[in-house]
Amino acid sequence: MLHPLRHFEAAKASFKSAVQYRAGMLLTILLSVVNVAVMYVIWGAVIAGGTYGGYTFEDMILHTVLQLIINALIWDDWNNMLGNAIHDGGLYKYIIRPVSLFAYAFWWKAGSRAFAFFVEALPMLLIFTAVFSPSFMTPEQPLAFLLALTLAFLYYLLFNMLIGFSAFWMKKTDGLEWIYIISRNILSGVLLPLSFYPETVQEVFFFLPFQYIYYVPSTAYIGNYALTSWNVTIWDSIIIGTVGLIPLGILTTTVWWIGSKHYEGVGV
């Protein structure tokens, strides 16, 4: 019988692996400070004193910091890990393990992000709180944020796995990955909160799954979720996002099933 805690071993291993890259993670904080400084100056010039797209200057700085914190908590490299494994035959090391690839990827990511929470996200939050003294949250905001963050974690993972699986059919996948990253930056609200765009564009964004990666968790934390004039609340959005995970999960599993069926692992 397989050990019930076998999945947790993947999380433990990735936590240990992440510890080895702690210097890189700490450097991320330094880079984040530079990024926030740039955005502080730009937003100071553009919206100081006013409210645009539902955002004040303080909200915009918080939005910028939250992008960095959310990224630290949901980032993974499964697109590259799978792409490389498919090309060099290393995919078999995932296939022969006594856990499903999806469960393994989930727990591996959970372990490394747990470490990132302490080394990247928490220091960034503390620095931000010390410098900007943000206003207090309502009790429902942290709960909405945690749920939205969980959704973001899963959406990010499934999309990355889909990109990684494209290696079944393509010799190199970094070009496709680049297009995905750019699209995600625009459609998920990294470039600019989605409420800044014209109403028609917001309606298109609403039906795309990308808002759940950054925009929904970020606005859940700030407490100013707004997309289209349809009066959709953050809770409606979290429910829709949860339901939306089902087709994405089915798509990713199907692509994996089709790809792995004809996979020969030449080069093992």
């Binding site: 450097l27 880079l31 530079v34 100056v41 010039a45 645009y52 996948t173 680049w178 600019l192 800044f196």
Partner: protein, 259 residues
């Protein structure tokens, strides 16, 4: 074979290499092209929401960003990868082999830093500039002036990347240098005025605005303050000269233990 021939030969090889992966290369070209539109999308959405940058219309800022894509794209295509390539070669010892060759090491690594995909950045820059220019009063004289003003910007970027590459040699890899430089370049995507009074004094000393600010002013046929431009030009020149001197010094300290 002179260096221009060598360079062209290397560019040809890189093109042939990319032709081996047509699908991936096409995705890269589309991706790099789209990347350049992030800035204009940002500005147009901002202005759509009612925000403005005092004294600048949205099309003037889009023009500024289009010119950044052209000038930056030229640098990114031909030499910006110098920092990354140097970092790789320093760590795997190949720099030691390059030093043994009868050709300038800097030129050789620069040749290796050629990046085909960034041609689409230049192309995107031209498209963005044309779109913005269609909403602005642009003259032939302005285009000629802007082209001349863009040259110091390219040379400054060359100096900056040589300086960063020299740091890689001296300290045997400074991690994430590319990202730090990238954050620095973000300042050039908005007009000087965006940075307020406190920053403006620093910015006027900075050569960053050689990249696209002065070319944009020239293209718009707007007056350029001689003092501001001279400061930028001087600091830009100092960075270029310091970069070359530091590179040559750093090479003398490199030991290439794995070479």
């Amino acid at each position: 074979m002179n260096w221009a021939k060598q360079w062209l030969h290397y560019i040809k090889i890189r093109f042939m290499e990319h032709l081996q992966y047509p699908g991936n290369s096409l995705f890269f070209l589309i991706g790099f092209f789209l990347t350049q539109f992030q800035g204009p999308i940002f500005v147009l959405a901002l202005y759509n929401a009612g925000a403005t940058i005092q004294g600048w219309t949205k099309w003037e800022i889009v023009l500024l960003q289009g010119l950044f894509s052209i000038v930056g794209g030229t640098a990114f295509t031909y030499f910006w990868g110098l920092t990354y390539k140097t970092s790789t070669y320093v760590r795997d010892g190949r720099l030691e082999l390059f030093r043994a060759r009868p050709i300038s090491t800097l030129r050789l690594v620069m040749m290796h830093s050629f990046h085909v995909q960034d041609y689409s950045q230049i192309l995107a820059g031209i498209v963005i500039t044309l779109i913005a220019a269609s909403h602005l009063p642009i003259t032939i004289a302005g285009i000629i002036k802007a082209s001349l003003y863009a040259i110091p910007g390219i040379l400054f970027l060359l100096g900056l990347t040589i300086l960063a590459a020299a740091l890689q040699v001296h300290f045997t890899n400074v991690p994430r240098m590319g990202e730090i430089l990238g954050s620095l370049l973000d300042y050039t995507k908005f007009p000087k005025r965006a940075f307020g009074v406190a920053q403006a004094s620093l910015v006027s000393l900075s050569p960053l605005f050689l990249i696209n600010y002065y070319p944009t002013k020239a293209l718009l046929n707007e007056p350029i303050t001689l003092t501001g431009f001279t400061y930028s030009l001087l600091t830009g020149t100092v960075i270029l000269i310091a970069g070359i001197i530091y590179w040559n010094y750093a090479l003398t300290t490199y030991q290439g233990a794995q070479g």
